[in-house]
């Protein structure tokens, strides 16, 4: 190929590239068929409401619900009573008997009008009000219920010409637990630490603690605190902060540590599955330790308990001992052979 021909080829290739780039920018605008979003996406705030009521009164507190989809949604509003689950981890169980007279005192207001249904436009956020009428009665015991916002699904998009078919409509609901409790006078609540335990012997960390509190009172309490770990010499060498936890009336609750949220990424499966407990993440341990549980109930009433455990890296020690033994044996054999 002559130089001039080569130059022409290069020029044409460059021109082709420029032209392609130019038309790429000028290509017809992309068109999108309208997306018919098939799902639901709801958000509420706050996630939990706790109300302390001290006298006959009418309670009014705001809450917010948001529709995060691009289509409108209609929700029914219901109140359902619940009790704490016997798993003692903060989950709840909807009560079998939903005909609780107290529920008649509850209302959800939208712009001062009581509603049982609400329609949210796409992406709309709406503030509502929960009102509780206690004007004519004293609160003797706690009342626990959830506010449920439940959608009704549509089947208009399903084909109607198949004679033998099945489909399940799905209603999506999101709930806010509400805890209504009486403000009590300054008397010590009837709560005790039913369990504070750990393995008495561990080879290495992390160390798992089980803390279970039992509330024998007619009203809920808040429990917070920490576990302080001391070594043989009484020095504080570790601290585990506990998550502030609500313990409902006449129920038990496992108290987790604040760092438990990080356990989801832990490499150990047993650690990931360890729910409802406290974790001291220190890895290398040696000797006897004392763990002191220091709880504060309702930010006022202290509870203390202690537990002892011993740590020795048995596997590591046995491995080292075996290694030393082998080395000594080999060196003796070598000496024998040399002599």
């Amino acid at each position: 190929m002559t130089p001039s021909r080569l130059k022409r080829q290069v020029f044409l290739a460059f021109a082709l590239f420029s032209l392609l780039s130019f038309f790429a920018f000028l290509s017809p605008a992309k068109t999108y068929a309208q997306i018919s979003f098939l799902g639901t996406d709801l958000a509420v705030f706050p996630p939990v409401i706790t109300i302390h009521a001290s006298s006959q009164t009418t309670i009014d507190t705001p809450l917010t619900i948001q529709n995060l989809t691009q289509v409108p949604i209609t929700l029914s509003v219901k109140f359902l009573p619940f009790i704490p689950s016997n798993q003692e981890n903060g989950s709840i169980i909807i009560q079998k008997d939903q005909n609780v007279p107290f529920l008649s005192r509850l209302h959800i207001l939208s712009e001062a009008i009581a509603i049982e249904r609400i329609t949210l436009a796409p992406k709309q956020q709406r503030q509502l009000h929960l009102t509780i009428d206690l004007a004519n009665e004293d609160l003797i015991s706690d009342e626990y219920f959830i506010i449920v916002f439940l959608s009704n699904s549509s089947t208009s998009s399903l084909p109607k010409d198949i004679p033998f078919r099945a489909y399940a409509k799905i209603a999506s609901g999101i709930a806010i637990p509400v805890l209504l409790t009486k403000k009590t006078e300054d008397t010590s609540p009837k709560i005790l630490v039913d369990t504070f335990s750990t393995d008495p012997f561990v080879q290495k960390g992390p160390v798992l603690f089980t803390i279970k509190t039992m509330n024998q009172d007619a009203h809920l309490v808040t429990v917070s605190g920490e576990i302080t770990i001391r070594n043989l010499f009484g020095q504080i060498i570790g601290q585990v902060d506990l998550m502030p936890t609500l313990v409902l009336a006449h129920s038990s609750r496992l108290i987790p540590s604040i760092n438990e949220a990080n356990l989801a990424d832990a490499s150990s499966q047993s650690l990931r599955n360890f729910g409802g407990g406290a974790v001291w993440t220190e890895s290398f341990l040696l000797g006897p330790y004392n763990a002191s549980l220091n709880l504060l109930v309702d930010n006022k009433y202290p509870i203390q308990k202690s537990v002892y455990f011993f740590s020795f890296p048995l596997d590591l020690f046995l491995g080292l001992a075996a290694g030393i033994f082998i080395v000594v044996l080999l060196s003796k054999r070598i000496q024998t052979q040399m002599s």
Partner: protein
């Protein structure tokens, strides 16, 4: 001449190519085109609650939100679809469909999801009963294996492989159980419970239906409800 011809072809292709069109689903009264891989990603482009009410204090009462000393965020729950369409049924031919539930901004104490059905799949007086699995022993509280083509009914499976929080009874992908009935005496025990705080958690569900030859043709349906609840 080869290069100019190539250049002309490419330019023609670009200029006269049809516009791009994207769709995830289209429907009208006669049909629906559905992409079963619809993303359930919580739409990050929509601001999640830009304003928050403050807890109120009035005469004789005080209100607190969430737990003292912890950040309080909006709690979110999304479903990938509002209908599970099994399509055309044929005897001894099980049909499985799936959907995804998504929890967002799980609080420090975790969250749960309860579920129930209003009634079994029903078409007038005819019913597709809830499954009792191959052994006949699965119920609303206990899952069991369901693989036999001659075992009929309707049930669900909560996938444990990528979800910590479903019942550990769903040991294998063949374990199913029926939905609790809304009107039964069984309390609504949670389908899913987590005590781990996370920005987002997906729960993958499978739904299975199988009918026998004596099942009368019809359009069978029911309503499944999922309610997401923050833990305390």
């Amino acid at each position: 001449m080869k290069l100019p011809a190539l250049l002309f072809s490419l330019v023609s292709l670009l200029v006269f190519s049809p516009p791009f069109a994207y769709s995830l689903s289209m429907s009208n009264d006669n049909y629906v085109i559905q992409n079963t891989n619809l993303s359930t990603n919580i739409d990050q482009s929509v601001p999640l609650m830009t304003t928050f009410p403050k807890p109120s204090t009035g005469q004789g009462f005080t209100v607190t939100y969430g737990l003292e000393g912890t950040a309080v965020r909006p709690f979110e729950f999304a479903l990938s679809q509002q209908n599970i369409d099994f399509g055309l049924l044929s005897p001894t031919n099980p049909i499985i469909r799936d959907s995804t539930l998504t929890l967002g901004n799980i609080p420090p104490t975790g969250a749960s999801i309860i579920t129930f059905e209003d009634h079994p799949l029903t078409s007038g007086p005819d019913v597709i009963a809830d499954t009792s699995c191959d052994s006949g022993l699965c119920n609303e509280l206990n899952a069991n294996i369901w693989t036999n083509l001659l075992t009929y009914g309707f049930g669900y499976h909560c996938d444990l492989s990528d979800t910590q929080g479903c019942s550990d009874q769903f040991n294998s992908s063949s374990d199913f159980q029926p939905f609790p009935l809304q009107t039964s005496g069984i309390v609504f025990t949670p389908l899913f419970v987590t005590t781990i705080s996370k920005p987002k958690q997906d729960i993958h569900m499978l739904y299975k239906v199988n009918v026998d030859r004596t099942q009368k043709p019809g359009i069978y349906s029911n309503t499944l409800s999922y309610i997401a609840i923050p833990n305390l």
